[in-house]
Symmetry: C2
Subunit: 138 residues, 2 copies
DNA sequence: GTAACTGCAAAATATTTGCATCCTT
DNA sequence: AAGGATGCAAATATTTTGCAGTTAC
């Protein structure tokens, strides 16, 4: 387990520090997406808030995690399972956010459909966020 | 013009106040989605920041505007053109956010495709946010 | 040893709440 | 006149920045 964490960091030319190991471990243990506040809690408050901000930003830049848009001013993050690399995300799965418990899932097997845009718009990424009731809340 | 604004407010059982008229007018004049800060600027800073927060919230609740999810911690809002009513939004069009100028468009004619979810998930709403380069920036 | 990373302090920004006053109906 | 909306003050929360000390390599 620990090997996988260290490998991931090294592969992305990141030095292996306690905070990065712990935050990456939290994501690996987790089935759902996490907001900054979740990570603060789950890390046992061992790390400074600022370190968490910076670590999340670094992970996004490296393609280790991706951010999931939300309509409630609280961006969540989840592990990239696809072949994302520095500056290039390829997460083309659908996200689901439960209106009741606010849990956010990556539906890895639900592929984002192609969207035909009007002339002149260049597509870089398509985010699909479905909301409703999740398994537990329905 | 003014009639339309007043009608909309009355139809939603809202009292007709200067701030509501002005903020609704800004949305009617606008082709793109607006963040809280945009409205603060465009309103000429005649209204308190708090009033703008409360007005936006009220408009969303009444189905006059809808919020557009974003991955950058700045939710934007746009007029509902469909038949939205109190507590029930039906905005099933695609949104486009330009990576360069951050302008956000409602693509009213691009319909959100149906997404098939795994057993147990109940769909309430599907948000599609496409990002890339808009007409002006490409 | 050096570059990179972290923690702390503080600044800047964003959002929420309570309450007195004012405005709409 | 009464209820709702606004403005102000202040509390709270969030995010960013600079810098000195620490750690990974």
């Amino acid at each position: 387990m620990d090997t996988r964490i260290i490998d991931t960091l090294k592969r992305n030319q990141l030095s292996v520090t306690d905070s990065r190991k712990k935050i990456l471990e939290i994501f690996l243990d987790q089935q759902t997406a996490l907001a900054h506040a979740d990570i603060e809690l789950q890390s046992g408050e061992d790390f400074d808030r600022v370190t968490i901000y910076r670590t999340l930003q670094t992970f996004v830049e490296k393609g280790i995690i991706h951010s999931i848009p939300s309509a409630d001013n609280s961006v969540r993050y989840a592990l990239c399972k696809d072949a994302c690399s520095e500056g290039h995300h390829h997460d083309n799965h659908v996200h689901f956010m439960c209106d009741t418990c606010l849990t956010t899932y990556c539906l890895d097997h639900v592929i984002v459909p192609t969207v035909a845009l009007p002339e002149g718009f260049q597509v870089n990424q398509v985010d699909v966020v479905v909301s409703g009731k999740c398994l537990k809340c329905s």
